[in-house]
């Protein structure tokens, strides 16, 4: 490696990292939080088999798991204006990623809820809890524990998927790297550099996952 490339890499590091801190990470956190709320609601609707709503959420999960994320982004950002709905790139990205991750996590949670031993619910009902109390105090906390690994899988996938937002003009890390690569004519170095930064983010999440799992498994 010559001095020029080293200088470009050093100069660009913060120019890539800062959009990462400004956009990639907030986008990930916000959409994962919204996605989880959607997932909990959808999973509960599906476990309770609530009429009509169950059909609607199944349709939603089917569509969002069955179509490419990039296509979803394009439909919501470039497509919706045709029917009069104009969204900023940032809002379109939040909506799309939230709905997408919500669809996947809802299936994770549904499976985790169903895997909680039947006696746990019966015990909760037997002490006089309502179905909802049993769900929120007893079943959901245990389901989350069962679901922690697959949920982190989705979170880590989401960090990387946010790079697709570059396609709808959100200046996140990958877009920043693309611009510098175009200016310096050093795509190899720049794309490797941005890959390393993604890797750092995901490594941090891997450690967070390990920490969460250890904390939860200490409960007996």
């Amino acid at each position: 490696m010559n001095d020029r490339i080293i200088r470009i890499l050093l100069d660009s590091f913060f120019k890539i990292l800062i959009p990462g801190l400004q956009y990639t990470i907030p986008l990930t956190i916000i959409t994962f939080a919204i996605g989880l709320l959607i997932a909990i609601a959808v999973a509960i609707v599906r476990v309770y088999k609530i009429k009509v709503i169950d059909q609607i959420v199944r349709f939603y999960v089917w569509v969002f798991r069955g179509t490419p994320l990039l296509v979803q982004l394009f439909i919501i950002f470039y497509g919706l204006p045709n029917i009069g709905i104009q969204l900023s790139a940032w809002v379109a990205a939040i909506i799309t990623f939230s709905l997408n991750v919500g669809a996947y996590c809802s299936e994770t949670l549904r499976g985790a809820i169903l895997s909680v031993d039947k006696t746990q619910k019966e015990a909760a009902l037997s002490i006089g809890m309502t179905n909802n109390q049993a769900m929120f105090y007893i079943i959901l906390p245990q389901a989350f524990k069962n679901a922690i690994s697959p949920l982190f899988n989705s979170l880590i996938a989401l960090v990387k998927d946010t790079s697709l937002a570059a396609n709808i003009t959100v200046v996140e890390m990958f877009m920043a790297a693309q611009r510098i690569a175009a200016n310096t004519y050093e795509p190899f170095a720049l794309y490797c550099e941005v890959a390393v930064i993604y890797l750092i983010f995901c490594t941090a999440l891997t450690y967070l996952q390990k920490y969460c799992e250890e904390r939860l498994s200490r409960r007996g």
Partner: protein, 248 residues
Amino acid sequence: MISLKNIHKSFNDKEILKGIDLTVQDGTTTVIIGPSGSGKSTLLRCINLLETPEIGEVTINQVGYNAAHLKKKDYLDVRQATAFVFQNYGLFENKTILENVSIGLSVVQKKTKQEAYRIAQEALEKVGLYDKKDQYPRQLSGGQQQRVAIARALALHPQVILFDEPTSALDPELVGEVLKVIKEISDEHTTMIIVTHEMEFANQIGDQIVFMEDGQIVEEGSAKDIFETPKKERTKKFLARYRDNYII
């Protein structure tokens, strides 16, 4: 007083309970015995409506609940009036021992946290497990878990505690400690209905013994009536199996 009138329950067209009538006086212990598959556990689960009978009426403290028209609130009322001890303990895996015993008090009975903890502490001391209060269920032995489950039932101060084969899932050496706790609370005249295969224990503890077979009550009476002078042929035959192994 708890009374059951003409309880019928079927699963997939198979009739498990074929019209059960039973009365349990306050402060007494009723033990239900009988071969596996005779409907004992189902009957117990019908009392607190974990299973809903198709026909029949459950009366708890003069309030009748008819199976034909049960409302959501009836389920909650019946369950608050009863407590259930499960064969496989049924402790909440995500809660500490103290939380397991106190959660019904705080969430269901709407007591303050301090009040709930105080009552839970008393109940745990009674079963000798207050020192385990901050542990999680899986850190305890089966016998200890079942004692916590009994403490949870006691803490709720129900009209009746229902025990569904409380020692069947335990290693033989752990059965004794659980039976001892049940005996202690029986001596305090807590109303209890116990399904068990421990005949010696049934004989010791039961004010009323009920022998069930094939979804029906074959014979009921005092421990002396049933174990020493059973009248029905089926009761004698059933007990003979145990006589070979135990001195009653």
